[in-house]
Amino acid sequence: MTPLIGAGISIFLICLLLVLRVPMLVAVMAGVFSGIYFSDAWAISLPQTMMSGMGRFVLIALPLFVLAGGLMNAGGISGRLFDFARALVGSLRGGLAHVNVVTSMFFGGMIGSSTADLAGTGSIVIPAMKEAKYPADFSAALTASSAGIGPMIPPSSPMILYSAVTGVSLGALFLAGLIPGLLLGLSQMLIVAYLARKKGWLPFSVFRLDDVWRSGKRAVLAFGVPLIIVGGMVLGIFTPSEAGAFAVVYAFFISAFIFKSLTVSGLYRVLVNSVQLSGELLIIVGLSFALGAGLTNAHVPEFLVRIIDTVVIVDSEYLRIFALVLLAIVAGMILDPLIPVLLPIILPTLIAFDVDLIHFGVLMVIAVVIGQVTPPMAIALIVAGRIANVDQIRVLRANTPFFIGIIVFLLILIAMPELSTWLPEIARD
């Protein structure tokens, strides 16, 4: 059996096991073991490869960023962010829908909080939107789609995983995601504005400068976490893990002593959640290195290059990137986390095609976001649909404008890499 066929069997095995509801960790591990079997490799090298994958210094930032976000949530920041968003955009037509989007953009500044945004904020905002006569399926679809802004806006956990696997600077990636993240939020607000005008949705509140000032003052401390992380890294003050540790200390201080809402038992629970949320991801990243090494030895990347060269008949960098992003989108419909599983397979191909890895990092994160609202995984749609008590198919249908929006946005980003590479270049200069 050729190594390539062995690698194909390993990939097929991973997919099959995932379909049979075997946990991602075990499925990938089984794939790695089968790869070792087919290639006659030394199984004992597996722990070494996993340890070196997990030991990447940038990965240490992951549990720390998650902890900082958890501490801010436990400190009660979500209500303050919502209140500030309401004061800013609640007076627009379809105000509550706009507030939903802007709150998600604010939540983007706190890693690991997309669940809090979706399940926490969504559990209150979706019923409130229904009460305000917004269609239930639209309320769920908007909440699911807007939760996807979070991974784009720094700090972002998919970007940490991408940086760990590719070795690209995390600070540069965070900067690269900033403009696309804000534009994605803006594009969703434009869709809401159009629908609000068409369907006659009313404003949610009245715009008052003193209200903006008052709620802004209450929310401003929340923005300290992304400021420490992104600012510290971009200015070269901190490494990613140091930025994470300082953000944790800041978030602890704010929640415990300024907001006075963090108890000892609350702190313990947040710590446990951070350990639990990070653990599985860290192991999957470790395994992804072993998977990547096995597939590279089996010449899968060269095979992928040949396929893309065959499919993309015109010699165009954009079309090649598009083909790779399409592959990521299709894989993202099933794989979660997408990046550590797919990237080791396509990274050598990206390097062979001389693709800008920072630009592609942002496109990969969009593929992750699309996967969250596309069946069969569609985790964001499922959660939002359950809160709204609406059938998933209806939510999927109501999500069409936002889905078209993000696809158009993705195409624009592929065609205009400057939207993501401009800020990192300025910072580098």
């Binding site: 049979l20 209500g79 901190f238 893990s241 300082f246 446990v272 350990v275 639990q276």
Partner: protein, 188 residues
Amino acid sequence: MKNLSEKIEEATKKLELTDPDANAGLLDKFINRLVEAVGVSVLVMIVVVIFANAFSRYALNYSFSWAEELVQMSMPWLAMTGVFLSVRRGTMIKIDYFFEKIPERYQPAIAYFGYALNILILLSMAIVSLEFVFLFGGDEALYVGLPTGFSTSALVWGMAGAAMAYFAEFFRVWRYKHLSKRPGGAKK
């Protein structure tokens, strides 16, 4: 309006602070708390070491040479305690969509196959890791001075622990099914 933001604050706090073991039995609670304590200690140690190292570098122009190595060596323990807790609480990442489409009468057999496979694969990983620890675990880390086996043994404990957690879960499910067939129904 103010009420809505208060409700949101309450809901997100609840999500963050709810104890997932609130309804668990005494033994389950004890095991989970023990592993939680290890994970939390490692995480707190990582935060303190990184913070102290960065602070000392800026304030005292001095950094601890062992800090980075100690943190890297602790990461597998953090990861393994997290995985163990995820298995115990059923929050491992998996896809339910396709499984739910399978006719109900086939679902138990596939679920049992899943349990058996999880146990087999995780135990295999634990055995491979144990061999690795026996072969290379005695090497000393450069700055910390601890044997590297301190770090790699986390893989052995974590994978074996996760396999045992799946075995316990499998036994619980099987016993429940078995008892439910008896007159009088299942006793949870």
